[in-house]
């Protein structure tokens, strides 16, 4: 069972973990990735990060990515939460959790979920610099390469 949410409000990673594990004792491990707003980009201090998304398509894209992870690995559940709006350095942006009877599946599914999310979910980041300037973040080639890794891998 996948839990997918796009929200402006902060999330509580511990509460989400407890929710994923609630009422079951057959889980062997949970992989976890938490994305955090950094205080600088390319050595330039950042005041805030603005996240725009495509309501409607975002949920569909995240649900599809979660379903793909569940089809590829033996998962007992996964959680994908992504925030939008204006976030400050230190704020949590994204949470990925993947529960499985086995460690490797939990870790691999977590890596897959965040890599695919970065290249397939319609979010756009804009950095707001300390001097008031703002710039859209450009897609990174190594994000595309990280996602492509999961295309060629035979599981």
């Amino acid at each position: 069972m996948a839990t997918v949410r796009v929200q402006a409000e902060p999330f509580d990673a511990g509460a989400e973990l407890a929710l994923l594990l609630a009422g079951r004792t057959d889980v062997g491990g949970v992989g976890c990735f938490v994305g955090v707003v950094r205080n600088a980009a390319g050595g330039r201090p950042i005041r805030a990060m603005r996240l725009e998304h495509y309501p409607g398509m975002t949920d569909r894209a995240l649900e599809r990515i979660a379903a793909e992870a569940e089809a590829r690995w033996d998962l007992q559940g996964c959680t994908v939460l992504h925030r939008h709006g204006r976030l400050l350095p230190g704020d949590l942006i994204v949470l990925v959790l993947a529960a499985s009877p086995h460690r490797q599946a939990a870790l691999d599914a977590t890596g897959f979920l965040i890599d695919w999310l970065k290249t397939r979910a319609p979010f756009w980041k804009q950095e707001e610099f300390a001097d008031g300037d703002a710039a859209w973040v450009e897609a990174r080639q190594n994000d595309t390469a990280a996602a492509a890794r999961w295309e060629s891998e035979t599981l």
């Binding site: 495509y54 979010f123 756009w124």
Partner: protein
């Protein structure tokens, strides 16, 4: 009619987040619509000046240049995604 949405710097360059317009005569694909928007006005020419950095979705699914656009469709244009 089609419903067209713009995100991130495409929205800024177009000067709008969305618009409804009749599917232009002779336009049947994503690439055709990009060409039409580019030719329509200065904002379109600026937004689509570099089509290789523009991504599209039709009815909330990623779409390529040759994918069809039909009356009633929701078509979105945006830069490569940068979430996570």
């Amino acid at each position: 009619m089609i419903h067209v949405l713009y995100f991130a710097w495409l929205r800024e360059r177009m000067g709008r987040a969305e618009e409804a317009l009749p599917l232009p005569e002779g336009i049947a694909t994503v690439a055709g619509l990009i060409g039409w928007l580019t030719a329509r006005d200065a904002a379109g020419a600026h937004a689509f000046a570099n089509p290789e950095v523009v991504r599209a979705a039709v009815n909330q699914d990623f779409a390529g240049p040759s994918d069809p656009v039909r009356p009633g469709d929701e078509v979105a244009f945006f830069p490569p995604v940068t979430g996570g």
